[in-house]
Structure formats: structure tokens, C-alpha cells
Symmetry: C2
Subunit: 210 residues, 2 copies
């Protein structure tokens, strides 16, 4: 199998981190996302959605959603468990993973993709059709990212990690979201002391540098 | 447990359909999404994200992502299986579920929320902060929905159902996305014959009327 990767891409980092927590090594191929290689004819022939990361299995199956790639490896390498063990834990981890992704990571991405010059006419990730940047979406992305900071800080005042009392995929997504937000000069406020405590603990994990 | 529901909401329909496929009955409470009850103080005290559907467990745990709610019930009631049985199937179903959701349902929602008068200043689902409608996002949502139609039709030319040779959660999401797109007068083209074949087959399922 091959993992199509781009070192700087937040979504690609999520998958690399997940694999590193499990001690899994996969053959990777770098795709130049900044240069638009992901929406070039060769890559689109492999994956019409143009997304990175993408896992291509030996039988040709293409899995191009970060969480779905993680789910594949969780099934093959169950330990350490990062997606939950019983019905409630699986649902809660999945839910927090999605909150961190949809409210956090995608909001930061909205602001980033609509403001960074290299993504002019590529405001929608993976979309080969030209999509212009809309300054009003930067403002919206910033507002929604700040809203996520508040949600996350409240949560981390109640639990040690994002989805409960242990490290899971929800922490990976939330951490990557926060790190991505820095690219648009957006950080939690001084008042977000719970985030600060958690961020330091998660930063110390060796796999965070994958 | 209580399922907070709104009969007309596409996301709520996904969960009701999933439950109906499994023959599960849950106590529900209707929340008036059109009237803004979901971003009123009472509902936000229960769920600060203001989203519907939301499942509240007896211990107070709040699960407010449709797919996470489905995952919870899949674990408790494994048959009929709708999320996959082995690593590859789980990953492929999850991936197609997400494609249908992110590329299909969310794109239709982008166009719908930015154009429907009742959602003036509520363009972002669940967001209590006023968010104005942006006409340019209607155009973008329509473009992305059409892009999804092409992706889906190509897929359904290769497989009987969205994620493979049997009905899964990916069919529910894709079907609800297509149905939602009709609200903004958007339907697959004549050329999308694979979608037409599949749509008719899936429509015939009794649970589709849940």
C-alpha cells in the first residue's frame, strides 16, 4: 500500500501522528500540494477528489479521508486503542473527533484557504475547478475557530483529554486544529488555561512530531 | 435516553432511517429548528453546539453528530450491519459516508442555508452568533453539489450500492443529500443513469420513510 502524503498538510499530519502512536510504518509518496500536484491530471486519475492524504491499498482501493484511513489501521492494529472500546466510548470519541474536525480544523482551514496567496483560485481543498478566495470567509473562519476554542477549553476543564481520561484520535485532531490556527495567527486566549495545560501535555508525546 | 429530533431536518432523517433499518425505537423530542429553538437558551444549555439531532444518554452524555449517534447504535445492535465488518469494509464505508456527507450533504446545505429566508442570519447550522447569508456561497454550494453528483454516478456505475455490494450508512447519507438538494431545485442530470437506478432501489426500502 502507499500513503500519499504532504509533510506540511494538517490532515496528512493527523494520519502520520496516528500511525506513529501505533508504531506503524507505511510506504509514503510526497505530493506537492502547494504546487497543485494534487489537482494535476496524474493525481486526479488516481483520486478524483484531489485530497491528501490518500491511502491506496494493494488491490487499488482508494481511501481519501484521514479518519477513514485511521479507522483502517485501528482495525488491523488495535493497540494502543485510539478510537474507543465500547459503544459509548466509540461514540464519544467519534463525536469529539468530529467536533475538533468540523468546528476546529475546518474553520481554521476556511480562513487559511481564503487568505493564503498560494491558494488563490483554490479555496476549496482538492477541487480542480477554480474556486476564488472570499475575504468574508476569512472572518467567518476566524469567528468559528474562536468559538471552537471556547468549546474545547470548557471541555478540557472537565476531562483530562478531549474525549475523556485518555489520549485518543480526538486529541490528535484538536491539537492539529490548534496548530493550524497558528498559521492564520490565531491562538487561544490567556483565559483558556485548560487548553494550555492540555496542549503542553500532548506536545510532549513523541508521536506528535511525526 | 432521548433523541432530540426535527422531522424535516436532513441530518435527523439520517439517524431515524438508520434506527429504522435496525428496528430500534428511541424516545424522541421534537425541537423547532425553523423557529430557532435549537439556538435558544434552553437547548444550548443542553447542547452548546445547537445541533440536531442530538442523543442524550441517561448519564447525561451528549452525542450531537449524526454519524456518532449511528455508531453508538451499531455497537449495541450490530445487525443488520451498516458500518462494515472488517478493516477494509469499515474504512471504505466510512470513507464513502464522509464523501456523501462532506461533498454532497454539506454542499447542498451550503446553498440551502445561504438562500432560504427563514435562515437569514443563521447561515451556519447551530451557531447562535448571527451569521449572514452570502449569495456567493449559494453558487459555490451548487457547483460542489453537481460535482458530487458526478462522483456518485461514476461510483454507482461500478458498484450496486454506494460503498459496495450491499446497503450501508453511505447510501443513507447519499440519498438524504440528493433529497436535500431537491430543496434547492437541484437534481442529477439525465446522464446520471446510475444514480437513477440506485435512487429507485433505495427509495423502495421501508426505512427510507422513517
Amino acid at each position: 500500500m502507499i500513503l500519499y502524503d504532504f509533510e506540511k498538510a494538517p490532515n496528512a499530519r493527523r494520519v502520520r501522528w496516528f500511525l506513529a502512536e501505533k508504531g506503524i510504518t507505511v510506504e509514503t509518496r510526497q505530493v506537492d500540494l502547494l504546487g497543485g500536484e494534487n489537482i494535476g491530471p496524474e493525481y486526479l486519475a488516481m483520486n478524483p477528489r484531489g485530497l491528501i492524504p490518500t491511502l491506496k491499498l494493494d488491490d487499488g482501493t482508494v481511501i481519501d479521508e484521514s479518519v477513514s484511513i485511521c479507522r483502517y489501521f485501528e482495525e488491523l492494529h488495535p493497540e494502543p486503542n485510539l478510537l474507543g472500546r465500547d459503544a459509548k466510548e466509540k461514540a464519544v470519541i467519534d463525536c469529539w473527533q468530529r467536533r475538533a474536525e468540523l468546528d476546529g480544523l475546518y474553520s481554521a482551514a476556511l480562513a487559511f484557504r481564503n487568505s493564503t496567496p498560494v491558494f488563490a483560485n483554490r479555496a476549496v481543498p482538492g477541487c480542480a475547478e477554480p474556486t476564488e478566495q472570499l475575504p468574508v470567509l476569512v472572518e467567518r473562519g476566524v469567528m468559528l475557530t474562536r468559538r471552537f476554542f471556547n468549546l474545547l477549553d470548557t471541555r478540557l476543564g472537565e476531562t483530562e483529554y478531549v474525549a475523556g481520561d485518555r489520549f485518543t484520535i480526538a486529541d490528535i485532531t484538536a491539537f492539529v486544529a490548534l496548530n493550524f490556527a497558528r498559521w492564520i495567527k490565531l491562538s487561544p486566549d490567556e483565559k483558556h488555561t485548560n487548553i494550555a495545560r492540555w496542549f503542553e501535555a500532548v506536545s510532549a508525546r513523541p508521536a506528535s512530531r511525526a
